[in-house]
Point group: none
Chain length 238, copies 2
DNA sequence: AGCTACTATACAACTAGACATATCATACAG
DNA sequence: CTGTATGATATGTCTAGTTGTATAGTAGCT
């Protein structure tokens, strides 16, 4: 009946508390014995949970000393100028991005409407995985107008992120014109990439970015592992 | 002629021995292997018998640990002066309380509102498990204003219950000012502590207690194993 | 043939305890 | 003040025992 192992539910509890900021960065967790008592299990079961969190890069254990929190809860500011690398560096985290695939294909009606193209125009579809301190935090799917921005597919494949790729082909600046926010449940594939449980809650942002001339350059969907990230919104006066 | 299955006769034997007081409340039964040898059957046949007794609510099994005898349902009076030890002694049951953890942390907005504190004031978070005759019946999570009641965390850690800890630091009396009642499903961790099935129904009381001067001293949530306890309410005239 | 009760075996998940080893704080001698 | 010894405490490792689950097989009945 209990199809989720105990150690996993304990790991989830602790991961949640860390994400909620119950423990500062660098803080020591309660001892394995204390956690075992709190959760009402054997020390070894707690160790199993801790081991998985250590494997995720959230914790670090030192024999004789204790188990320590490596990462702090990540606040990811949403503004009209969202830059993954800069955001994470500003938060004191080590950003990384892994390109999963770059495809060229003819765009659908929806794509055409969003990117102001004609149906059938070629677009580049970009899939990538974003990391903070080695832990996956977001899954990205972006569409770019390849016909208007030739060479982008190659630039994207080289890695280094979207901003750098756009720079390479002459788009020096771009801003978000709209962002939609919803919550979804992780599909098996997403869960695998983001290292969360299947069905875990994800934050989905759908955004359209335009260059300085107002031409759409990117329609992107990003799934954030909500247990590891909090999207923040600064309500500035216009 | 309908022959009674072996497992049923084994279940009957064990049920009789439990009823005869052969095993203490909360005591551990012999292992499945030992019972299988005693009755001269395969371990799975014993398991079938045990499963039926577990289904009846007489026993509870814990992987890696053993199979335990549970005590019978209990009536628990809810009033403006709820004292666990006294309530259980009055019901002729042996009360016990196990402190799971005591943590100090900064309070959230909700905590501040309930305890009339400022956001960020320090509170003591107390987790404990209540037993009746060796059977867990309730899981307690209470928050206390540590700033207003210094030393409470230490007093709580010594065990002996909330009432005694509050006495120790000078709060001689306190009463409930409000109680909210809802039903929830047991999370994996809660199920472990209370020795019920994951997803089993729990009674959740959320209560605020104040001292004689009307200052909040405790905001507590208590999850009762509803299969073992009935909350009773006496409507007295004021 | 299909159903039921039971047996047999193997492995996974969790508990229990003992012991090894690293770290830290403290006390004490030089 | 320094260095060392010691004890308490923390994580790391190992062995063994218990319940949970899955698969397969056997005997007896309808």
């Amino acid at each position: 009946m209990t199809k989720t192992p105990i150690w996993r539910s304990i790991a989830d509890s602790l991961r949640g508390e860390i994400a909620d900021g119950h423990y500062e960065k660098g803080a020591r967790l309660p001892t394995e014995m204390a956690l075992a008592e709190r959760f009402g299990v054997n020390r070894h079961t707690v160790r199993h949970a801790l081991a998985s969190l250590i494997d995720e890069g959230l914790l670090h254990a030192r024999r004789g000393s204790g188990t320590f929190v490596l990462s702090k809860p990540l606040d990811y500011p949403l503004s009209d100028r969202v830059r993954f690398h800069q955001n994470l560096l500003a938060a004191g985290r080590m950003p990384d991005k892994k390109v999963l695939s770059v495809e060229l294909r003819a765009c659908s009606d929806d794509d055409a409407r969003r990117l102001k193209l004609k149906t059938g125009d070629q677009i580049a579809v970009y899939h990538a995985l974003s990391f903070a301190d080695g832990t996956p935090v977001a899954l990205v799917e972006s569409r770019f107008p390849e016909t208007r921005l030739p060479g982008l597919a190659c630039a994207l494949e080289e890695g280094g992120g979207v901003t750098k790729a756009l720079e390479k082909i002459g788009v020096s600046d771009y801003v978000r014109s709209s962002t939609r926010l919803t919550a979804t449940k992780a599909t098996p594939t997403q869960a695998l990439h983001l290292r969360v449980q299947e069905g875990a809650p994800l934050l989905l942002t759908q955004s359209l970015s335009k260059d300085t001339d107002g031409r759409p350059v990117e329609y992107g969907q990003t799934w954030f592992a909500s247990e590891r990230i909090t999207l923040t919104l600064d309500h500035v006066s216009h």
